[in-house]
């Protein structure tokens, strides 16, 4: 190969030229090459008219981002893959990523760190490997775990947390975790205990990116009403009055499957098992035929059973990019961060709307004011439970209630442990007075939507 020297010579000449052209050479670590950070340095080392008031041009900023700044990324899926790439190429080389999922073939149209061979492997692991090998010097540490499996000592170590989650419940949990890390001295928030949370979400061609400073700006729960409610068809429609193909599918999923247990006793419907979906599909067709309903397809069946949200690479790219830009701003003070919510939609042209989401005065998560629950002493416990799950500002999933009654801690109702559920079920139909609760007393409520127990104050109405 006579040419083998040529590319070497060409390359070292390019490097040499680049070095000569730069005013400051800079000595980086071994895996650096000349000019690597040119695109970023301009925003860290030069003053400008639109920088943050706290910004000071410095060569140290890049070193801080490369060596010291610790970023936590939640999710290694559609947004997560994009975010890892964006952060790594923006100078963040200490990233931890948490994801409890494994790779599915339907991820491959947008989760570009994964290949067909990776199907079945943990997303966090594969994503970390890919970035670490593609971006020299980047150290992504994967955690194949649920966010709830990690504790406050874990979360406390990060400078900034970025979320690319697909679940409101998970977001709320993380939100609660960061709120629990806040330190107040004499009622004043210690800003050093604030870990900024950048949150992105997408659905089809729509998305949003927001910046949350826990304890200071609107949190996830402050704006719970912005999240679209999940579509659940009424039981009477499903059971006796289907009109749409979706109703037929839900009938099979909710009523037929548990009844017929087609794949064995206790075998739950697995949306990822094509055999299960095929069974549901066939039965849905039969149900639809009974009522002259058209439109049941395999694709629709899968979509309804798995509650599939359509997704493309482009929307995830846009939202992740916006989030990563905010991480960069926060870490470097290069520009004023987004204040604090951006919405994006490219169905018709491209549309963005940027506004400041406001804190809710009585936010159940961040307002620190114990919420008052107003009930008559003759109200049944069931009504309290109903309020906790149905209220649009609380939207709890399966709250567990405890209270101190006659000096002893008493579990009023708990759903998640079968034996306790059985034991406490009778309490649901007892009145608050019968349960020994008094006016002004505290009720402690635990739920998946929050890592810490929430305290409520019971206020008796007449």
């Amino acid at each position: 190969m006579a040419d083998v020297d040529e590319p070497e010579k060409k390359r070292s000449r390019v490097v040499e030229l680049t070095e000569n052209m730069m005013v400051d050479g800079g000595n980086g670590p071994v895996c650096e090459w000349s000019g690597r950070w040119n695109h970023i340095k301009k925003f860290l080392e030069r003053s400008g008219p639109f920088t943050h008031p706290d910004f000071e041009p410095s060569k140290e900023s890049l070193q801080f981002m490369l060596e010291t700044c610790r970023i936590l990324l939640i999710g290694a899926g559609g947004l997560g893959c994009e975010l890892l790439k964006d952060l790594a190429l923006s100078g963040f080389h200490n990233i931890h990523v948490v994801d409890m999922d494994t790779i599915d073939v339907s991820n491959l149209n947008r989760q570009f760190l994964f290949r067909p061979n990776d199907v079945g492997r943990p997303k966090a692991d594969v994503a970390a490997d890919f970035i670490n090998s593609r971006v020299p010097g980047c150290r992504v540490v994967p955690h194949f775990k649920k966010i709830q499996d990690l504790d406050e000592t874990f979360y406390r170590q990060f400078h900034i947390i970025v979320c690319g989650l697909d679940s409101v419940v998970a977001r709320r949990w993380l939100n609660g975790m960061l709120l629990s890390l806040l330190v107040y001295e004499d009622g004043v928030l210690d800003q050093g205990s604030v870990i900024p949370l950048i949150d992105g979400g997408t659905e089809g061609f729509k998305g949003n990116a927001r910046v949350i400073l826990p304890g200071m700006t609107a949190c996830i729960d402050c704006t719970l009403e912005l999240y679209p409610p999940q579509v659940n068809f009424p039981m009477c429609t499903i059971a006796s009055m289907p009109r749409l193909p979706e109703h037929c599918i839900e009938y099979v999923r909710i009523l037929l499957w548990p009844n017929e247990t087609p794949f064995g006793d206790g075998v739950a419907l697995d949306g990822d098992d094509p055999n299960h979906i095929q069974w549901v599909y066939q039965r849905s067709l039969e149900r639809a035929a009974e009522f002259n309903i058209t439109g049941v397809t395999y694709r629709l069946t899968q979509g309804v059973v798995k509650r599939i949200i359509p997704a493309v690479a482009s929307t995830n790219a846009v939202i992740a990019a916006a989030c990563a830009t905010e991480v960069f701003k926060l870490a470097s003070s290069a520009y004023i961060p987004l204040n604090n919510y951006m919405v994006f939609n490219d169905v018709d042209g491209l549309y963005t709307y940027t506004f400041e989401a406001e804190r809710k005065e009585n936010c159940s998560a961040c307002s620190q004011i114990p919420l008052d629950l107003h009930f008559a002493p003759s109200s049944k416990l069931q009504e309290v439970l109903h309020f906790l799950t149905e209220s649009s500002s609380l939207q709890m999933k399966s709250p567990a209630l405890t209270a101190t009654v006659e000096g002893k801690n008493k579990t009023l109702y708990l759903q998640s442990v079968a034996s306790i559920e059985q034991r406490t079920r009778p309490n649901l139909s007892k009145t608050l007075k019968e349960l020994g609760l008094s006016d002004g007393q505290e009720l402690a409520v635990a739920d998946v939507t929050t890592p810490q127990t929430m305290l409520f104050r019971l206020c008796f109405t007449s």
Partner: protein, 533 residues
Amino acid sequence: MAATKASKEQKYDRQLRLWGDHGQETLENAHVCLINASATGTEILKNLVLPGIGAFTIVDGHTVSGEDVGNNFFLSNNSIGKNRAQAATELLQELNTDVSGNFVEESPDQLLDNDPEFFHRFTVVIGVHLPESTCLRLGSVLWRASVPFLVCKTYGLIGYMRLVMREHTVIESHPDNALEDLRLDQPFSEFTNHIQSYDLDNMNKKDHSHTPWIIVVAKYLEKWLNEHDDQPPKNYREKEAFRQFIREGMLKKDNGVPEDEENFEEAIKNVNTALNPTKIPSALDDLFNSEQCSSITSQSSSFWVMLRAVKEFVHNEGNGSLPVRGTIPDMFADSQKFINLQNVYREKAMEDAATVSRHVESLLQSVGKSPESIPEKDIKLFCKNAAFLRVVRCRSLAEEYSVDSVNRDEIASCMDSPDSHMVFYLMLRAVDRFYLQHSRYPGVYDYQVEEDISKLKLCVNSLLQEYSLNVNIKDDYIHEFCRNGAAEPHTVAAFLGGSAAQEAIKIISHQFVPFCNTFIYNAMSQTSATLHL
């Protein structure tokens, strides 16, 4: 073969739910050209390769520099010194084996000199970071060949896109909030016949409570028209009275308390929209009155032939209205009543579509084309989407840049607010001017920043003068555009990458509506605007 098709269905499942199998087919038959594999370019291409476009070709004469590798995920430090088109193609290709990747190690200027028709083969051409002269040359070649051209630039924290397309028709625009087509203000005879069978005053409780709200409103409207000289409720007061009228029709328990009738509640809630007059959207009227619709020739595309056929329908069998869409929203009702009602609308829609079909056939025959040249299913789809048809026309770069046709009004009115996104457009034009003069961009090296500010200011002023633009550009923007030294930060490139790719997909699939014609993204404020230049 069957195995690959099944696995493609699985892989692309999440996007097939957005643009369907027919949309996917257009993507797989598309060949996209990217000029310049900078970070912006590769990010755009990534979002086209992942969803499975048929093929891409990267045209780039540059060699990979250390700086390139720093912000580009699809270049590695091994590729420093290699041709950038080749290096990027390797790493983009491996994203998706369904896609065929090609590269040309030449600059676009070279191709324009030697073989401009090279660009005719592409479904869409995406030009990234093109100097003004190249951009205008390429623009004129693509305009003449009617190849859509998407111009993209990331400059500091500003993203810029310009779409250049003669005429782009959209049948499936998939609007977010479409009004239903219920025709309650002008019921068709089959509907009127159908509701004859409902006698709300003499139904058993079960049937009464399970009658679809559309029928409830229709029946009460009939009564109202009888009692009000054929005048439907028009203002708030009348609509309120109408709602009350319906409420009084709810069944009552023995003690006078109204029964729980969800269908009646739905009827009351929907009175406002149900009474909306059926009319042709003004955008559609404009299309009906356009040249392409009025003169159908053998060169006319299917879109215009079908549009003309719908127009004929509107003026004849439709009595001023479009073919019935045929869908109704879900509503509280028993299965049979709902399905029967749904079928009334569906059958009417089929009948109207068949009538439109006959118009299509005669139009085709009149220009010597076979009636089979527009398939039945296309006509059905067209009729179903008749109210949502869109035509996008983005004028040529030559028109934008010419002193005679520059959109002075748009620029001046936007610049009434000196921080409007328009200022970034003007700065990008000024920066292009700087490049023409100095063969480099301002402020690339630290020592240049200070002195380039005054040079850039001269470019700004000469630009404004040449176009007689009486606007003021704050010094801060000139300073910023020197300070950012033509940097291309990855996150801004990635934002533009997602945006531009989706626009390309819209162009290829003819679904959803492309922007027109200039898009500016400001990552400093996370805001954006669409301008008409």
